[in-house]
Symmetry: C2
Subunit: 170 residues, 2 copies
């Protein structure tokens, strides 16, 4: 283990700014969404992801992994969305244990109705202070980080069991 894997002031500053900015954005967006469509941020993210998909559907696990959420939490949210008629849940044909979540027309409508306001808040908060170059730099760097994080380490859902000592053998 490294004795002092300390961060430069620059790195520390970047990290703190990242957390602070994302918290503030989240907070603001959350209020806007709640007020405009009575959706939590996760719910909106789920709808957005489904709307983005060509098929308009996804497996539960992929959704949970995508929005970085616990599986049980996703079950809860999916139930809520289903009760409101914004999504449908049905077992997959390929894999009997998979549940396929599909965006309904109502869901798509809500998404379409909510998106502009959401975007507006984000633009005002995030991009009004930035130049074109800033935005490109930001996107580039964060994209690289995302790829890095999604590649190597444990995914959103940690491996099911956690054996005491070192070697978990296949």
């Amino acid at each position: 283990m490294a004795a002092s894997p300390s961060l430069d002031p620059t790195e520390l500053g970047a990290y703190l700014a990242l957390i602070e900015v994302s918290s503030l954005v989240r907070h603001a967006v959350e209020q806007q969404l709640r007020e405009a469509a009575d959706l939590s941020y996760v719910q909106f993210q789920l709808l957005a992801r489904l709307g983005d998909s060509p098929s308009g559907c996804h497996r539960m696990t992929d959704l949970a992994d995508g929005v970085v959420y616990s599986r049980s939490g996703l079950t809860y949210q999916a139930q809520l969305l289903e009760q409101r008629g914004l999504v449908t849940r049905a077992p997959s044909r390929d894999d009997e244990r998979s549940i396929t979540v599909t965006l309904t027309d109502d869901g798509r409508a809500v998404l379409a109705r909510t998106f502009p306001g959401h975007i507006e808040v984000v633009r005002r908060l995030l991009f009004d202070a930035l130049t074109r170059d800033d935005v490109e730099a930001l996107g580039g760097v964060l994209g690289r980080v995302r790829d890095h994080m999604r590649a190597t380490p444990p995914r959103s859902a940690a491996p099911r069991r956690r054996r005491g000592s070192g070697s978990d053998s296949p």
Copy 2:
């Protein structure tokens, strides 16, 4: 109001990457902190902020605003930290209704013990994929955004009352 304040693909990508990266970092860090010191992320942030302060103390409200947390949530967390002896709470001398939260020696010790591991995770996740220039660009841009967000709009704690119709007069 703008008819379509839509975001470029570039902007949208940057926004999504920001949310995704921050979520992943938060998630990873949270697990590490829980495991290493049985601290939630907020708790750690609070300790860190107090440790950063020259006086080692802050008002409740300033802490809540700093970490972007509800006031009631902060009360809860502060109680928890106080029970564990990591902070002290005492009414302020200047202002009888303010509570001053102060880091104890134990708290400082826990912070010192926990910091390296925390930093290590952040470095591995966030900075191992980045060049020096990347880090500087990231910090610069995000710093600018933070200043922008902290400046203009509603702070973490929304104004107390929200009158029905238009004119709230001073």
